[in-house]
Assembly symmetry: C2
Homo-oligomer: 390 residues x 2
Amino acid sequence: MGDAAILANGALSQSTAPDSLTFRISPPAALVMDSGATLSPLTIAYQTYGALNAARSNALLVCHALSGDQHVANLHPVTGRAGWWETMVGPGLPFDTDRFFVICSNVLGGCMGTTGPASINPETGNPFGLDFPIVTVADMVRAQALLLDHLGIETLFCVAGGSMGGMQVLQWAASYPTRVFAALPIATSARHSSQNIAFHEVGRQAVMADPDWRGGRYLIEGARPSKGLAVARMAAHITYLSDSALHRRFGRNLQDRSARTFSFDADFQVESYLRHQGAIFVERFDPNSYLYMTRAMDYFDLAADYGGSLANAFKGSRTRFCVVSFTSDWLFPTSDSRALVRALNAGGASVSFVEIETDRGHDAFLLDVPELIETTRGFIDAAARARGIS
Amino acid sequence: MGDAAILANGALSQSTAPDSLTFRISPPAALVMDSGATLSPLTIAYQTYGALNAARSNALLVCHALSGDQHVANLHPVTGRAGWWETMVGPGLPFDTDRFFVICSNVLGGCMGTTGPASINPETGNPFGLDFPIVTVADMVRAQALLLDHLGIETLFCVAGGSMGGMQVLQWAASYPTRVFAALPIATSARHSSQNIAFHEVGRQAVMADPDWRGGRYLIEGARPSKGLAVARMAAHITYLSDSALHRRFGRNLQDRSARTFSFDADFQVESYLRHQGAIFVERFDPNSYLYMTRAMDYFDLAADYGGSLANAFKGSRTRFCVVSFTSDWLFPTSDSRALVRALNAGGASVSFVEIETDRGHDAFLLDVPELIETTRGFIDAAARARGIS
């Protein structure tokens, strides 16, 4: 058994015994989902950083993206790598853990400890697979709200996230307007575009085309559709970068060779890089969970849930918003953020908007982009003053 | 055996008995390729439209793109559909078959009759598969030049094509400057970008991940990696369109249903459309040929072949160029065409450049875009007058 297989099992073990705090909901309590399905029991795995103050007013919820998880600012239990937002979360950083109680939970349908398709279906004793109900962004947020109830947090100081995390931020503000003091949606959209649905469908078809997917029953049948998931990840990864970032970083440079090999080897650095991205992803992510996450994003259309008007979703909101986009993000282009800002304005919400100049594409929200760090710091500090957090 | 299987066999039968004119090169004649490989015997399958004039001065070579073939302006023998450039080629059209002798050959490495990986390797009696030598754009053009020799055509009135066809146009002008009177490269680039190599690598990995690919030996082993090729085509197809074209055509419209199904069905029209594009492509295209075509494009870097200077490739050229790009083409963006135009100018060539405003993306070169038709007509008519073609 190679390292990849060991790590794959390591990742899957997180769905039964996560290296995280957990909150368990058991019957008769349950989560009622958009699909009409009712889920119980249900585990939510989460991490926290910093301490909740006496007024319980300093909780900051971080929402993770499609391939992220709750390990925001600690070593990852499966990969051993740093947390995914260590530029943002920590002492003295914008989400200052000396001041704020930062919470991040693995989303519903995820694979790092929160109940998802790799979890055991109590009705069968086997992993759910495709019997897991389809998850929406609103369902993810409902689960997070139950966690906050459990933690005794009535109102969040702030909810923040990028990409699918940003969708959760918007859903929080719409679903629970009185529970969100400040909201920071980054590199996101109030609805998933046709092109983005198309890319997700390619990824799903890549997973489902792998015969080891076994109709979603690979865990039961002892298989693993790693090749299909790797292809899905490779395709998606291109969309997270920008043409110019790829050009700057890789150009047409050859990988460890001085001339083309006239073969299908990974002659170009960019090929080698992509193959690596595919290979490391399958070590930590559940293929069915990938299907559910992409579907949740595809289904996200906040206006549709509010009579076709995005402004209605935020009508009368007292939440302070800071919307951030990146110039080179072609997955969630600035035009999506502008549409969101217009709707927030039309809904009467308080909103600031920053478009950050960078060639680093969608993934800029995860990177050490100084203007992002400073924008976030400024927004958070002002909101903390308004909220009376020292 | 379903329709798909029948058509797949129909497509493959073209590699042994094409419904086209053919030109066969036999030993001792041979094609010497960039890789150093020597290919002989070799068949080139081609179509012609119109008649060669007495002066042999009215030949117009059309070069096809990655997934195209020689069936430019006739019913396709496998799909039964119209030719791929019937907006451009025909009586009274810009490539006027009443005036010009239009030629299009299936490229080297293709699968519609010209020798490629699905052809029989005379050394083994089996299809080449991955034993077929890697093909470059320069190799494709060398094969076309041998065909023109055979047809007794010394100088082309014009060579025209889009995307990979445009790469061949540029290669023609660089390799055989005295044989090309006019050149019309559309929606193309003098080198394949890092992002484009990345997308091609995803496609190749999708094909190779399909266990029915069998290390490229699927024809020998009676298999067919249709699922992998369909995924590759789906991913590529998104890059041929634009975000706004997808939004205009599909948006978030649902397919034959009034509400989301909360499943992995193709709820959205764009998903259904993409699945269809994948399904029809595998009926007519050889998976290994797809690998070779993408590799040829990746390897294309005209400047690299001329001491790192693109201007050198066209130095002293007497060919008249018309370079065309489309505003919404993000695969071969206008910036690539501008770089090409600068190099042509620096090389002292005669060049006009038209950037056409359209939201139809890269595929605009195949579509009935009035400004493209009129631009082409104007360029061809002026060149014909200069060439003394009535």
